[in-house]
């Protein structure tokens, strides 16, 4: 009797396993697809970059201050591209983080439910604006009507104009993620603060924001990763001059904008200037990957506190 039952359940398990096997395989393939793509990208990048570094020494690439691969006198110093990426990304963050954070404070702590239920979706629509539109917004509005009269710049392309458009792009992301972090702060903490005679502003600034800080930092880091990887706005609005400068009123070319220029341009495949794209791409990949990992680490800490 006991044997029969054991055998029956053994058969049952076997049948179940056989039925589940194809499903399992399918799900596994799905998971594999994204991992496989990532691995593929890394391999392609590494391969191209290795070929490039056969022509140009890594040291020269990382420390050179001239980037002129499309000129007759080819120079492959990535610092102008790197500095443009850093300048534009941080300028964009300097706009998006304060505005996004204050928006989040308003939405989470001040806005009545009615207002919130309208503003939040609108904000999310803003996040859906194609970046090409923002790029044109930068050259057709921000540069001529804001930056030119303000700083009397000559060029229609400035790093600042691109950074401002990018800031607009990032505001919804920072606001939405920060607001999520703030709303995750338990109501009991707010009540505790109100109960000792805090006003709304003190509750927001001294309790809610500090308690949500890791979430806010993670939001800023994710925004930074997006800014570093953003291509369209900078391609359109920042100009296409690799310029080793920290002055945001000048035109600049970021790493992404350079890649786009070469890929869409008529550069000959296989040449060293074509291969430079892989080296720049690899650098960009390492850059955004480390920011993302940092953001994940900060978020992981954040989860620990509230679970």
């Amino acid at each position: 009797m006991a044997n029969l039952i054991a055998e029956y359940s053994r058969n049952r398990r076997l049948r179940q396993r056989m039925r589940e096997a194809p499903i399992l395989a399918f799900l596994f393939m799905c998971a594999l697809a994204s991992i496989g793509t990532t691995v593929g990208i890394v391999i392609v990048l590494l391969e191209g970059a290795l070929q490039f570094f056969r022509e140009v020494p890594v040291f020269e690439f990382l420390t050179g201050t001239e980037w002129t691969p499309l000129f007759s006198n080819k120079q492959f110093g990535v610092l102008p591209l790197l500095s443009a990426t850093v300048v534009i990304s941080f300028a964009a963050l300097a706009i998006a983080v304060p505005v996004g954070l204050l928006t989040a404070v308003y939405l989470s702590e001040y806005a009545p439910e009615g207002v919130r239920s309208i503003v939040k979706p609108v904000l999310e629509v803003l996040a859906g604006i194609p970046t090409v539109v923002l790029g044109y917004f930068a050259i057709s509005f921000i540069n001529p009507t804001i930056i030119k009269p303000l700083f009397s710049t000559e060029t229609p392309f400035t790093a600042l104009g691109a950074a401002m458009a990018m800031g607009v792009m990032l505001i919804p992301m920072v606001a939405s993620l920060s607001e999520d972090a703030m709303r995750a702060v338990p109501a009991s903490l707010r009540e505790g603060a109100y109960a000792v005679g805090s006003d709304r502003f003190q509750v927001s600034v001294k309790v809610v924001v500090p308690a949500a800080l890791s979430g806010i930092v993670a939001a800023a880091l994710l925004a930074l990763a997006r800014a570093v990887g953003e291509t369209m706005i900078v391609t359109i609005a920042a100009g296409s001059i690799a310029n080793f400068s920290a002055n945001p009123l000048e035109p600049m070319q970021t790493m992404t904008a350079y890649i786009a220029q070469v890929v869409f341009g008529d550069t000959e495949r296989g040449g060293v200037e074509y291969q430079s794209v892989f080296a720049v791409g690899l650098l960009l990949f390492i850059f955004t990957l480390s920011i993302n990992m940092l953001a994940q680490a900060v978020l992981a800490r954040f989860r620990e506190i509230y679970d």
Binding site: S188, A195, G197
Partner: protein, 280 residues
């Protein structure tokens, strides 16, 4: 049956109450609730509550779940209006002044009527900063560390934390956290402290420590404590209010009087049924 046991409990209170008259025979009322109605949106949660809460006494509010005990205390420092749709009708006089009157600043009011919550809710900051928080937001300058120490001593927590004031408050045990929250409330020297089931998340030993503290503190401050634990009400309070939910789901005051009377000689059969454990 359990009934016997329950009816015996108030004995301790009676013994303590016997010591009471030495302090002042006729207690002075500090909060007068007059025909208070509390609402959540359209729903009335409390109706026609009128009672006087006495200075430097412990008043317990007891009653079955959902009868509006917590809502009632949250009306006393205007915390109720923080809940969505929360509003009131009627008056709550604090030292003779209606706290719902025009021109009363709820923020200022809350610095005079402190509150301790069901679940300990220390801020994710250091022990020191937790206690000093109220001083900071109220712009109380002067010797902060002295005031922090005094508040921690009054909350009977000083000896346990004096060597680690810089550590996170979240590392303390539940009972210590709750005493820290009491210290945080005490730091701004409120005249009244509202306690909303302060022991419900604590183990029996921590509960005893907090109860001891409540008795101690009632020498100087008025304490109003919500509890669903009748033994606790009997152990710590001088006066007890018994609330119940009516047919229309609104809580009303069934009986209010000295704790010894409410427990040994309740006027209402509902009270008797509740304290003898016939319903909960």
């Amino acid at each position: 049956m359990v009934t016997e046991n329950f009816l015996n409990l108030p004995q301790t209170t009676t013994a303590e109450a016997a010591v009471e008259p030495a302090r002042d025979a006729t207690p002075e009322s500090v909060i007068d609730v007059r025909e208070l109605q509390a609402y959540y949106g359209e729903n009335r949660a409390l109706k026609d509550i009128s009672l006087s809460l006495y200075s430097r006494r412990v008043s317990a509010i007891i009653g079955p779940s959902g009868c509006g005990k917590s809502t009632l205390v949250r009306c006393l420092n205007r915390m109720h209006e923080m809940s969505s749709g929360g509003h009131v009708k009627g008056e709550v006089l604090y030292q003779g002044e209606n706290i719902y009157g025009a021109g009363v600043d709820p923020v200022e009011l809350r610095s005079r009527i402190g509150m301790v919550f069901q679940k300990p809710n220390p801020f994710p900051k250091s022990i020191f900063e937790n206690v000093a928080f109220g001083l900071k937001v109220n712009g109380i300058s002067g010797n902060t560390s002295e005031r922090v120490e005094r508040s921690l001593r009054r909350a009977a927590l000083w000896d346990e934390v004096k060597d680690r004031l810089k550590q996170s408050a979240l590392q303390l045990s539940g009972g210590q956290q709750q005493r820290l929250c009491i210290a945080r409330a005490l730091a701004v020297e409120p005249e009244v402290i509202l306690m909303d089931e302060p022991c419900s998340a604590l183990d029996p030993m921590a509960t005893l420590a907090v109860e001891e503290l409540i008795r101690e503190l009632s020498q100087e401050v008025t304490i109003i404590i919500v509890t669903h634990n009748m033994q606790q009400a009997a152990r710590v309070s001088h006066h007890t209010a018994f609330l119940m939910m009516d047919q229309d789901k609104a809580g009303y005051l069934v009986e209010y009087g000295p704790t010894s009377e409410v427990f040994t000689n309740p006027k209402s059969e509902h009270t008797e049924a509740y304290i003898t454990g016939r319903f909960s």
